[in-house]
């Protein structure tokens, strides 16, 4: 029974991992930019959440998700408009990697100077420990809420990208940024919105993760690694693949921790290596 419980918790936890990575998958898919500051934005949104909770005591952190997501959208829009759009058309992949790497290093160390290096977390009151019994299994309420929220956001993203006029423009821009210009689309503006969306999604995941476990300004590197693993496992640029990848990593991590308590994310990493070596293009990527 304990194993099934662990598996279920892994699935719930993994939904969160998927949410961490889906923003990165979106950016890679649409503009082929690898954003090395993704982890720092996840951590920054958690700090913004903690600060907001401090300013407005009594407001539940789940309600604070909305303002944090809006702030993250604005930051992403700004990052893309001011910096990344200047290098996105360059043929060498290093330009955007080094640029966002610079942004990451600046953000990480400014966060250390501003917020200090002590571990923090986002208090969620009773909700953080509440649990319920489903079919004889004891499951936390918060993890269930997190999974529901992840699935809802994934579905929403899928609908926006596949069914709306905006989504069509995004897909067209991803296919060929020069041809869409002929149709009167400014690729730079599309990129701004996409980066904003990606970071808004990541900020929600960052807040939820901050409720579950503590973070420091240095946590960005771990968050980035998880996001990367999710994106690669799912296959670059696929959304549901990212979700499945996240769940696989979550289950591997929690099951691993169950029989080897000080392993950390070792088993998630091992699973990642095994899958990627067997299927170099990820679970849902095209076969090589």
């Amino acid at each position: 029974m304990i194993w099934i419980e662990t598996m279920v918790n892994g699935v719930l936890y993994g939904g969160l991992y998927g949410l961490l990575g889906v923003g990165l998958a979106l950016i890679v898919g649409v503009m082929r930019v690898v954003n090395l500051s993704h982890g720092e934005f996840i951590v920054l949104s958690a700090f913004v959440g903690v600060s907001l909770a401090h300013v407005m005591p009594g407001v539940h952190p789940l309600i604070l998700l909305a303002p944090v997501a809006v702030i993250a959208f604005a930051l992403g829009f700004g990052l893309q408009a001011v910096l990344v759009n200047r290098v996105v058309t360059r043929p060498d992949p290093f330009a955007s990697i080094l640029l966002t790497f610079g942004v990451a290093v600046v953000m990480r160390n400014l966060m250390v100077e501003i917020f200090g290096a002590d571990p923090r977390n986002l208090p969620a009151g009773r909700l953080a420990h509440a649990s319920t019994t489903i079919a004889g299994l004891s499951v936390g309420v918060l993890p269930i809420l997190i999974l529901i929220m992840s699935v809802a956001l994934f579905t929403l993203l899928q609908l926006v990208i596949m069914r709306t006029r905006f989504g069509r423009i995004v897909r067209a821009t991803a296919d060929n940024r020069d041809v869409v210009r002929l149709m009167g689309v400014n690729p730079g503006r599309v990129y701004n919105v996409v980066m904003g969306l990606a970071l808004a999604l990541a900020s929600v995941a960052g807040m939820l993760l901050a409720i579950r476990s503590s973070f420091t300004p240095y946590s960005g590197v771990e968050r980035l690694l998880i996001s990367f693993e999710v994106v690669v496992l799912g296959g670059l640029g696929t959304f549901w693949g990212a979700m499945v990848g996240g769940i696989a990593l979550g289950v591997a991590e929690l099951v691993g921790l169950k029989f080897d308590p000080n392993a950390g994310p070792l088993y998630a990493h091992l699973l990642f290596l095994v899958v990627v070596l067997m299927r170099p293009n990820g679970l849902f990527g095209a076969r090589p």
Partner: protein, 335 residues
């Protein structure tokens, strides 16, 4: 290599050999650190700038390079400096094995695959109690070294490692494998079609880069007499390598030299001259990276070379001089 660069190198060699007699302890320690960073950056440059392999997991070789002489030195009860050659051998062997697997991955996948591999090794070592687990291990055999010689030895070894990395990369790039590497980097399909063994060229570069990185890591940690997984396998190693190479100028041998000078100047300026915390120099580092990418994406060295002229450490081959026919031709070849 021009006559001037040869002369400069020879003079630098003499100055370095005599270093312990004219440099104080502080500057010597500083230069040791600088040279080791330069060596590591040069190996990353070989991978990313010439072999087209962007690895974000080179810290695994720094870490293995740190641990392998520790273990050997304690097991054989020998002074750590005698067993340093173990480090490049272990790293080359590990690189040769993992290359078989990791080379199946391309570009971003390869970068992340190497990073994850490094995390796996680091987490595994921190679970092994005999290696000190997460706390790390000291070096009891350090008592076999006369403490007066520790600093000078570290300095000579660091200098030799950096010089070896530069000369070794230069020699490799001038060789058949090096030519192959550059064609592979520029267009791997075209390279394969003219008969270049793409896989083999990359394999040689990856193994040699791992060996160099391991040696630099070994010297660095043998000098501090202490290794822990969080220090030895710190992703910041590869972050600094990346920074140094990309700021200085990727795909040139001079780039990492310029980059490492910029890196350490920035660090000393912020922490010593302005007396700010280490965090601020990292902020400056990030801003420098952003600035370079926005305004001079090829890095600082190409800009400098335009000013200075000359060929320096260029690996370019000079075409054979054309024989003037009747004393008029030949001009067309220049230009």
């Amino acid at each position: 290599m021009t006559k001037v660069s040869r002369l400069v190198l020879a003079l630098a060699g003499v100055a370095a050999a005599a270093g312990p007699w004219w440099l104080g302890d502080g500057p010597m320690r500083f230069l040791s650190e600088l040279f080791l960073m330069l060596a590591m950056a040069q190996t990353w440059n070989l991978l990313a700038g010439y072999a087209g392999l962007v690895s974000m997991g080179q810290q695994v070789f720094v870490g293995l390079g740190a641990y392998s002489p520790f273990v050997t030195s304690i097991a054989l009860n020998l002074a750590p400096f005698w067993v340093l050659p173990v480090a490049p051998l272990v790293c080359a062997a590990v690189a040769a094995v993992v290359a078989l697997f990791l080379f199946r991955l391309r570009e971003a996948y390869f970068a992340i695959g190497t990073w994850v591999f490094s995390e796996v090794v680091s987490l595994t070592i921190s679970k092994i109690e005999r290696l000190g687990g997460e706390r790390g291990m000291g070096l009891p055999t350090a008592k076999l070294i006369d403490p007066r010689w520790l600093e000078p030895l570290t300095f000579w070894l660091s200098t030799a490692t950096a010089a070896g990395a530069i000369v070794g990369t230069y020699a490799l790039l001038r060789s058949r494998v090096g030519l192959g590497l550059m064609t592979v980097r520029d267009n791997d399909l075209a390279a394969a079609s003219i008969g270049v063994d793409v896989w083999r060229c990359r394999f040689v570069a990856f193994v040699l880069a791992a060996a160099g990185c391991g040696l630099a890591g070994a010297v660095s940690f043998a000098a501090t007499l202490y290794a822990a997984p969080s220090l030895a396998f710190d992703p910041n190693w590869v972050v600094v390598m990346m920074f140094v190479v990309l700021i200085g100028g990727i795909g040139t041998l001079e780039g990492p030299i310029v980059g490492v000078i910029i890196y350490f100047t920035l660090r000393e300026l912020v922490t010593v001259v302005f007396n700010l915390s280490a965090g601020w120099y990292l902020v400056g580092l990030g801003l420098a990276a952003i600035g370079v990418m926005l305004f001079e994406p090829a890095g600082v060295w190409p800009l400098l070379r335009k000013r200075l002229g000359g060929d320096w450490l260029s690996v370019r081959r000079q075409p054979p001089a054309t024989q003037p026919i009747g004393g008029t031709a030949g001009d067309s070849a220049a230009g």
